[in-house]
């Protein structure tokens, strides 16, 4: 998502809303550089640019797996090998993608480091107060943006390296095999996943889990009608279709021991985001530590 006014004032074309038009990393970088300004007003392409006094970041790339993993997928990388026996974030495709995100911070200074990010308010507020021009994060942020009445914001598709890839990120509803109330549990489950039962939540915070809500125009109108507070023009292409049509399974829900593995990977990535290690070094170290936890895909 992005602040429309910041783009128009800088005379920059708005981010694309269709997956097939998605910016490549280099296109994203060039635009983010123009939209990054230091306190004296120099943008990040200027030779006088002072990276220690950045007033406005071109982009705020989220540093959780739910943000960086789409670029890894886009480059043909993956968390685990297809047969689920190997950790593969240390292979070239994944490493390249991770390194490119770190470079946005440490080489080009267009996205905040973890330390800089702590001085930024939430995405919705930092877009509104012009601390950042674009933010890459989950669509749940739209619930906050819906409240930001002063803000003229829009949504675009994610940047790509090779192919457009995204995923649905959310908690899993679990019914235990040992349950003695299978029928009642199923009934509750079916009630929860039917967006009709909590439309309000689906107009910003959540997105539907049932495929028909992405294809049936009547159902789409119920939760994704453009022009509603959390649903700017372009939402149906940029968020709804781009995700639905290019979705990969989310690692959180389909990798055994994901919590343990992610703890190892995130800790190692700290070193990449703050520039003390290359993505290759950090992921090679993580691969060794994660090895005992690798136990395949769930599906």
């Amino acid at each position: 998502m992005y602040n429309v006014d910041m783009f128009t004032e800088a005379g920059i074309e708005l981010p694309p809303t269709k997956a097939e038009d998605a910016w490549t990393y280099d296109e994203l970088l060039a635009i983010a550089q123009k939209l990054t300004k230091d306190r004296s007003g120099n943008d990040a392409t200027s030779p006088n640019f002072d990276p220690e006094n950045i007033q406005q970041f071109g982009i705020h790339y989220g540093l959780g797996w739910n943000c960086w993993y789409s670029l890894v997928l886009s480059n043909g990388g993956s968390y685990l090998s297809e047969d689920g026996t190997r950790f593969t974030l240390n292979e070239p495709e994944a490493v390249e993608a991770i390194q490119k995100i770190a470079d946005l911070i440490n080489v080009y200074h267009v996205s905040p480091s973890s330390a800089q990010a702590t001085t930024l308010p939430s995405n919705s507020v930092s877009l509104q107060t012009r601390r950042v021009a674009m933010a890459i994060n989950g669509s749940w942020t739209h619930a906050d943006l819906a409240q930001a009445e002063e803000l003229n914001w829009g949504v675009g598709v994610l940047p790509i390296l090779k192919e457009y890839k995204s995923y649905f990120h959310g908690g899993s509803l679990v019914i235990f095999k040992s349950t003695s109330n299978l029928e009642a549990s199923l009934k509750l489950h079916n009630w929860i996943i039917n967006p009709a039962n909590q439309l309000d939540l689906h107009r910003g915070l959540w997105i539907p889990q049932l495929a028909s809500w992405y294809t049936d125009p009547e159902k789409i109108e119920l939760w994704a009608k453009e022009g509603e507070p959390g649903r700017p023009v372009g939402f149906q292409d940029a968020v709804m279709r781009s995700t639905f049509e290019h979705s990969e399974p989310s690692p959180e829900n389909c990798i055994v021991n994901f919590a343990e593995i992610d703890a190892i990977v995130s800790a190692a990535l700290d070193n990449v985001w703050n520039g003390t290690m290359t993505a290759q070094q950090a992921m090679d170290e993580a691969a060794v530590k994660a090895e005992p936890f690798i136990a395949g895909w769930i599906y």
Partner: protein, 307 residues
């Protein structure tokens, strides 16, 4: 001493019994609270530490498996978090003790506005730790933080503070000095207990300020230092909220304190059995360290009036 007659003794024992009953009644709320909310959970956690209890599952007895898993090094974080915590203790305890001792000496001077100063220095202690952590995150911010800004204005090298692996522990230890109000108050009470005549005697013998400090203040303060050392040690081993709020244990687990590791085991991975074992190991470590300090105390703690 007058020996009581039979009835008097009987009456007296009735009074004693009555007083005992009243005593037990008065103590009951505290004793019940201790039993229900401290002893019982402790015993339960001791039991669970030998099981594989998770939040959603049933517990089955696994013997020493949780402990073996920790000590064998299978657990990636056990020795690491012990090391991190030990380093924090080594940095923060001497800092806190020395700083609050000096502060107490200053606050013990008779200057105008003494009580105002005392209030000011105690204030941070009553600020909730979340608020403190948020304030310090701003102060220590590498780009915009006040601390680096001051260093820059003196042309001194700046630091990444809590955002770099090799400075995060030192930064948190440094920050912990700020909330030593309680220790300072105890020191202050101790200082006020030192008889004035000892200082006078030192002056009469030609002693200067240093000899007063070295030969009167410090020896007479050793019981207070001892007490503060024990409580600070125990508190420092249990450091948690800074890691939870400010660093999330990072960067790269560099501030993964032992209690934060325990918390993660319990509430991220929901392995209650293993978390209980982790807690008991900490309990034993703290007991051992405290016992060690007690053991050395005969050599350096001086009690007035004997010993």
């Amino acid at each position: 001493m007058v020996v009581g007659t039979g009835t008097a003794i009987r009456r007296k024992s009735a009074v004693v019994a009555h007083e005992n009953r009243a005593g037990w009644l008065f103590a009951a709320p505290a004793a019940l609270g201790l039993a229900l909310f401290t002893l019982w959970p402790m015993m339960a956690s001791l039991y669970y530490s030998f099981t594989n209890l998770t939040i959603s599952g049933k517990a089955s007895f696994v013997g020493l498996a949780n402990y073996r898993n920790m000590f064998s090094g299978n657990d990636l974080y056990f020795y690491h978090s012990l090391g991190v915590t030990a380093r924090y203790v080594l940095y923060s305890v001497p800092l806190k003790i020395a700083y609050s001792f000096l502060l107490a000496m200053l606050l013990n001077q008779s200057v105008r506005g003494k009580s105002v100063f005392r209030t000011i220095f105690y204030l941070p202690t009553i600020v909730p730790s979340v608020a403190i952590s948020m304030i310090w995150m701003w102060l220590l911010n590498p780009d915009l933080g006040l601390v680096n800004e001051i260093l820059r204005s003196f042309n001194l090298p700046t630091s990444k503070w809590i955002y770099a692996k090799d400075t995060v522990i030192q930064s948190l230890a440094f920050m912990s000095m700020w909330t030593t109000g309680t220790i300072t108050v105890v020191f202050l009470a101790g200082l006020q207990d030192i008889p004035r005549h000892l200082y006078e005697a030192t002056s009469l013998d030609g002693g200067n300020a240093w000899s007063k400090f070295r030969h009167v203040t410090v020896p007479l303060m050793t019981p207070t230092i001892f007490f503060n050392l024990c409580t600070t040690l125990i508190g420092s081993f249990q450091v948690f909220s800074e890691a939870y709020i400010m660093t999330g244990g990072g960067p790269d687990n560099a501030s993964l304190f032992y209690v934060f590791y325990l918390y993660r085991e319990a509430f991220t991975y929901s392995r209650m059995g293993s978390a209980s074992a982790i807690a008991w190991v900490l309990f034993i470590i703290i007991m051992a360290v405290t016992a060690l300090v007690f053991k050395t105390s005969d050599r350096w703690v001086f009690y007035e009036g004997g010993r």
